[in-house]
Symmetry: C2
Subunit: 335 residues, 2 copies
């Protein structure tokens, strides 16, 4: 059992930002990226959290992230926005594009934002929650370097390609979904291998496309989509919107987000913002969404997606973020 | 083994339309609905095909479908369209709304269309293919009366809630995905019960929310989402867009599409059309999508989603639609 340290969220954010600045990031960029890392960690979303900081700093130093990036926003239609992230971090591109997306959707009813030449999106729940905080339904997709194959096909073709959405409520987002379209993350497979544990059925296949419970064979093969071939077609939808539509580097060509090789990953993200009053429900959307939420939580122990992370964040704001002590020590060593 | 009759697609379409007219549908409505039924059957998509015709005719006669429906199109913003289907069939609402959706998306970059007071969407592949034929990425979702529960929760909450998308290609849609977000359809469970066969793991749960392989117990309980709880959150997304956003009757309250009780189902559908040139890829979208398609089909036996249905349709156009003889006989008895 690893020990846990507690650190105030503001201190963790400052620590992350400081490390990024020391690695070459501009202070305003470091504040955004460090904030996203610290918030994910404070939400208990460790997959998108602090463990990335050392990698991000190394990528800044190696030029896999452009420290001089100047994201550019272009409006190509009344409801259409693009940001070229200029091979910098994703968060400054989000900060540039999302307010314009929200404004456009309020004007037209629905709007889209494509982001290219981008980097690790971190928690997609953050940008979609920002859209929902603006009173709009937020959808977001991101692709990533290929690690997922269609079942039985010996070819990695998609990333873990997450999809996220948030629904506005009367007091902030009513619910937030943020999940990979893969059965499992590569990190979980690697952890099973380290621990000498077998995988669960449906998680992975070997290099020949045969189902496997062996973590080492899976790492040579591919992760499977969540929900078999049908689930793989949801990964395909994400790939089309986040990569092909945005003009990003396809998942099969995108350099690794974990390693040092291959230059900037050139990834893409795509967001849609929808005015909930414009498509038939009118002012009734809030009541309809609340009724659905009530049905979903009517049974004991059932909570809405996103509730656990929000509660974890609230606890962290009150009494500090619980962070793995060894990880926090490594982060402090960056300074 | 049931015997198969062959009938020309035009004749099958005319047969369907004639039966609908005799049941009270207006000729132009009958042509649209009969065309959708016949085309699904000709594509080998029997789940959305001819077996519905007797039900549709019965629903017309019983007033579960409004034979005097006058769908109304309203534009609520430059990119926002709504159709009230007036408790008539879905296809006239699609025919009214889709051209306006396509025109709006060409103008603004992305547009949405909500349809309420609607009925069985039949094959969602048809409307999204129409969007793709217009050079746009088409997405469509539909909800349906509740038959699906989140794993372990003894409450049906979602319909089989299909999601569909089509990507434009150089010669018609490059690929078309059209699939339920449930592990299986209710029809398949009923067929297993009739045949005395067990279900597959992951398909269903009993009335207490426990996994079951017993088809009868499953029909008293619920079908499961494709891909467990994460898959269920895709069903949730469909429910939010197709029902809450459009102002439709929620899946848990929607009267059955198969039986005669409860009046009009009042369902909703939601479509998004996206101009592929406006979100970063510019003129490069076609090449990016084609490269992705080439990767997906590089391995022996791999075809793009939608290819099999297109080939089946082409064969049917050349040499007639293969229809179950007993079903065709029942349809002819309608006249």
């Amino acid at each position: 059992m690893s020990t846990v340290d507690r650190i105030a969220l503001a201190d963790l954010t400052a620590l992350c930002a400081q490390a990024l600045v020391q690695a070459g990031a501009a202070p305003d960029v470091a504040r955004l990226v460090g904030g996203a890392i610290a918030r994910a960690e404070a939400e208990g979303n460790t997959v998108c959290g602090l463990h990335y900081l050392t990698i991000f700093c190394a990528h800044l130093r190696a030029g896999k992230v452009n420290r001089d990036a100047a994201p550019r926003l272009v409006q190509t239609g009344p409801a259409a926005l693009c940001v070229d992230a200029d091979h910098g971090f994703a968060q400054p591109a989000f900060a540039l594009g999302l307010p314009a997306l929200i404004a456009a959707a309020r004007e037209t009813g629905i709007a889209g934002l494509g982001i290219q030449q981008s980097y690790n999106a971190l928690a997609l729940s953050h940008p979609v929650a920002e859209i929902a905080a603006g009173g709009l339904i937020g959808l977001g997709v991101a692709h990533s370097p290929a690690s997922v194959a269609l079942p039985g096909v010996p070819q990695r073709i998609f990333g873990t390609n997450p999809i996220a959405f948030a629904v506005p409520g009367s007091d902030g987002p009513l619910l937030i979904v943020d999940q990979s379209t893969s059965a499992v993350t590569k990190t979980e497979v690697a952890q099973r291998r380290s621990a000498g544990q077998p995988l669960e059925p449906g998680w992975a296949q070997d290099r020949d496309g045969q189902p496997t419970l062996d973590a080492a064979a899976a790492l040579e093969g591919a992760i499977l989509p969540n929900g078999g071939r049908k689930g793989g077609y949801i990964s395909l939808l994400v790939e089309i919107l986040a990569a092909a539509l945005t003009g990003a580097t396809p998942s099969i060509q995108a350099p690794s987000l974990g390693g040092m090789d291959g230059g900037p990953p050139g990834l893409g993200q795509f967001f849609i913002a929808i005015d909930p009053a414009r498509f038939g429900a009118g002012t009734g959307f809030g009541a309809a969404a609340a009724a659905l939420a009530a049905t979903m939580t009517a049974h004991p122990g059932q909570r809405l997606p996103g509730a656990r992370r929000r509660e974890t964040l609230t606890r962290a704001q009150a009494s500090g973020v619980a962070v793995d002590a060894a990880l926090l020590s490594r982060v402090r060593d960056l300074l």
